[in-house]
């Protein structure tokens, strides 16, 4: 049986006339890794800022174990640990001093906060830097310390805003493994615009765009929505009268698969079908007959990017 630890009810936030988040209602279950996927400016950070009690929603509410997260309710807020996207550290405190200090602010005894700090530094490969001031650490180390700061009070819910942003590959693997290890101990909510990160790490994923929740499901289920099979992307050589030629070619290709789309400015033809490789000669022939020349051909399995494109008609990176 799944237990809801965090719930948002019709959460809405405007900045002037811009609706950053619109009627966001969702539930996060105990022990899962819950992801928010969306392009920059989609409303991910605004949503999690409201979830951890930093930002007041215009309407709606956030409930942690059915209790509203409000500024006056410190104990409910303390059940949440937040790792912001930006590195937020006291640059002249050492790694251990930072952790001890923030632990004390959460009401831990100094010795307990210190013990937990030591353990977190060990787990995040920062033990050797325990007595170094934060300003002397590398960017990757600072990001790991930033993560440790959210954990020292052992929150039930850990919220991570773009946890892999700005990390070198080595640190990225380390952080990803660490997030996975946390899922057994607590609920993790993370935001990302990295499809690979979302696909590999999260249990359930909410895709949001322009402040609206588009879809919420497991990554596998979401990819299934696009349909089984593979995706082929063909980059066409530039030529005059391209649009009508592409339209005629697409008409022919639709006999193979109905899921064909094209984008003239980027000269990209995109198809989705089962056993698409077997159909490639026929597809290329259709292009050739309409005077089109295929340049780069890319064949791959479904990704969350395809889900996003299907939902919004545009790429996450656009």
């Amino acid at each position: 049986m799944t237990t809801t630890v965090l719930q948002t009810v019709k959460l809405t936030k405007h900045y002037g006339s811009l609706a950053a988040v619109k009627d966001l209602s969702l539930e996060v279950y105990e022990g899962e890794i819950f992801g928010f996927l969306g392009p920059n400016g989609a409303g991910k950070t605004t949503s999690i800022n409201m979830m951890c009690g930093l930002l007041k929603p215009d309407t709606g509410q956030v409930l942690v174990h059915s209790k509203p997260v409000g500024s006056s309710d410190a104990s409910t807020r303390a059940r949440v640990g937040m790792c912001p996207q930006n590195i937020v550290l006291w640059e002249r405190l050492t790694c251990l001093e930072q952790l001890q200090f923030i632990g004390e602010m959460y009401g831990l005894r100094g010795s307990e906060a210190r013990k937990r700090g030591e353990r977190l530094l060990e787990e995040l490969d920062l033990a050797e830097k325990r007595n170094k001031q934060a300003r002397t650490l590398s960017g990757g180390m600072q990001r790991r310390l930033n993560l440790a700061m959210a954990l020292v009070h052992e929150p039930e819910i850990l919220i991570l805003d773009e946890p892999e942003a700005g990390l070198d590959p080595q640190s990225r693997v380390k952080v990803r493994e660490y997030i996975r290890s946390q899922a057994r101990k607590r609920t993790v909510i993370l935001t990302t615009h990295n499809m690979d990160e979302a696909d590999r790490v999260v249990d359930r994923l909410a895709i949001i765009d322009h402040g609206e929740l588009l879809v919420l499901d497991t990554p596998e289920s979401l990819k299934q929505r696009v349909g089984p099979g593979d995706v082929v992307e063909i980059l066409l050589a530039e030529q005059e009268g391209m649009e009508s030629a592409v339209q005629q070619a697409v008409h022919v290709i639709q006999a193979i698969t109905s899921e064909v789309s094209y984008d003239i400015p980027s000269r990209k033809l995109r198809l989705h079908a089962l056993h698409v490789v077997a159909h490639l000669p026929a597809i290329l022939e259709a292009l050739h007959q309409n005077g089109l020349t295929a340049g780069e051909i890319n064949v791959r399995a479904n990704t969350l990017e395809d889900v996003f494109i299907q939902l919004t008609g545009r790429s996450l990176r656009e």
Binding site: G53, K56, A78, V88, W90, R109
Partner: protein, 398 residues
């Protein structure tokens, strides 16, 4: 009891963190502490360790006189020596006489503020004095004096000069003054040099500078984003600001003590107990830190805090009496104590109390009024600062 202990733990945690951060930012810390002693030292150099010597211009037109014995007398020289004989209690001359040949030259020097006043000794100076010595009471000496009346030194300079002249004339003519004035100095004020007179103001000025440190330290937490992290914790604004304030007050007291030691090394003497002066410094620091926190409530960056802090700094400097004496406009009276606008500025009471201790030899019981007002103002400013900070910076943002 647990919430109380948690609160104390957080307060102490913030205090330790602030001390560590300040200690490691040694350049800012040393400049903050060294500012006041350097200011004392600079003031000592400007006053040459004593008091101001006023430049007085003397246009001596005296043509002298030949006595009955055939001796040529120039009595104006004695008058000038009498002016030079006007001294402070420690023997330092109050006047420096500059001889001039014409009035135009004198006016130019006065315009340039190279002198505070001029005195013209008339052509018949010696002749009239000689007549007076002979018992002739029908004549008088016409002394012309003047200067730039907006020059704050002018009044003191001409009074001292005329006082010297009058004393000389009385001596040489044997005439008794119509009125005999007897000056009685309060406490140890007679023996105070100008350097000593300004030390209390300089000490308070050192504490006033805390308004920058307090506002910038709190604004730094906002700008660096660390306050957002703290807002997620159960920490309250008074725990954060209390811990920071105690650390800042230590800096203020250290600066005050160092300035006091410097002043003593340069010849400053306190008439009253030092511990009372230190206590005044501590309470004044608390109130100034409270004002700094109010500034931080309206600042999102350290630069903003620095700019806004100039406003209370200006008020403290110019209207508290720390640097310049100010006229008091009475608004109301309570238990025999008058209150004016300047009384809402904590340094006003800090300067008044320190003056009483250092110059008049007052003890604790004689400055209880100032200490009480300072304490009330400190509590008010600190509570307002903490409340505003909680509201502006620590509440859930809309």
């Amino acid at each position: 009891m647990r919430p109380v202990w948690d609160s104390i733990r957080r307060f102490l945690g913030v205090f330790r963190k602030t001390v560590r951060e300040m200690w490691r930012d040694w350049l800012v810390l040393s400049l903050s502490i060294a500012f006041a002693p350097l200011f004392v030292w600079a003031y000592y150099l400007f006053t040459l360790g004593g008091s101001t010597t006023y430049n007085i211009l003397v246009l001596n037109l005296d043509q002298g006189v030949v006595s009955a014995q055939g001796e040529r007398l120039e009595l104006s020289e004695g008058a000038i020596q009498a002016m030079l004989g006007v001294t402070y209690a420690n023997g330092q001359p109050m006047l420096k006489v500059v001889h001039l040949d014409d009035q135009e030259q004198a006016l130019q020097k006065l315009r340039d503020r190279a002198a505070a006043a001029f005195v013209t000794l008339p052509a018949d100076f010696s002749q009239v004095i000689l007549a007076m010595q002979g018992g002739d009471r029908s004549q008088s000496i016409q002394i012309t004096y003047g200067g730039d009346l907006t020059n704050p030194y002018y009044t003191t300079a001409y009074i001292l000069a005329l006082s010297g002249l009058e004393t000389y004339i009385q001596q040489v003519t044997g005439q008794l003054p119509l009125i005999q004035y007897n000056e009685q100095s309060l406490g140890g004020s007679a023996a105070r040099t100008e350097f000593e007179f300004y030390v209390p103001g300089v000490l308070v000025f050192a504490i006033i500078m805390l308004v920058f440190m307090a506002s910038m330290a709190a604004a730094h937490e906002v700008e660096a984003g660390t306050l957002r992290r703290l807002r997620l914790t159960p920490m309250k604004s008074f725990e954060l600001l209390g811990g920071m304030s105690v650390a800042l007050i230590l800096v203020g007291v250290a600066a005050e003590l160092l300035a006091l030691v410097t002043a003593i090394a340069l010849g400053f003497r306190s008439q009253g107990p030092f511990w009372v002066a230190v206590l005044i410094g501590v309470i004044t620091s608390l109130s100034v830190v409270g004002v700094g926190l109010i500034v931080a409530c309206f600042s999102r960056t350290v630069t903003q805090a620095f700019l806004i802090a100039n406003f209370p700094l200006g008020l403290f400097m110019f209207f508290s009496g720390a640097i310049f004496p100010i006229p008091k406009v009475t608004l109301f009276t309570v238990a025999g104590h008058t209150f004016g606008l300047a009384d809402i500025l904590p340094p006003t009471h800090g300067v008044a109390a320190l003056n009483k201790v250092f110059t008049l030899g007052a003890g604790f019981s004689e400055v209880t009024f100032e200490l009480a007002v300072l304490t009330i103002l400190s509590v008010v400013y600190f509570v307002v600062g903490a409340w505003l900070f909680q509201r502006q910076q620590m509440s859930m943002h809309s």
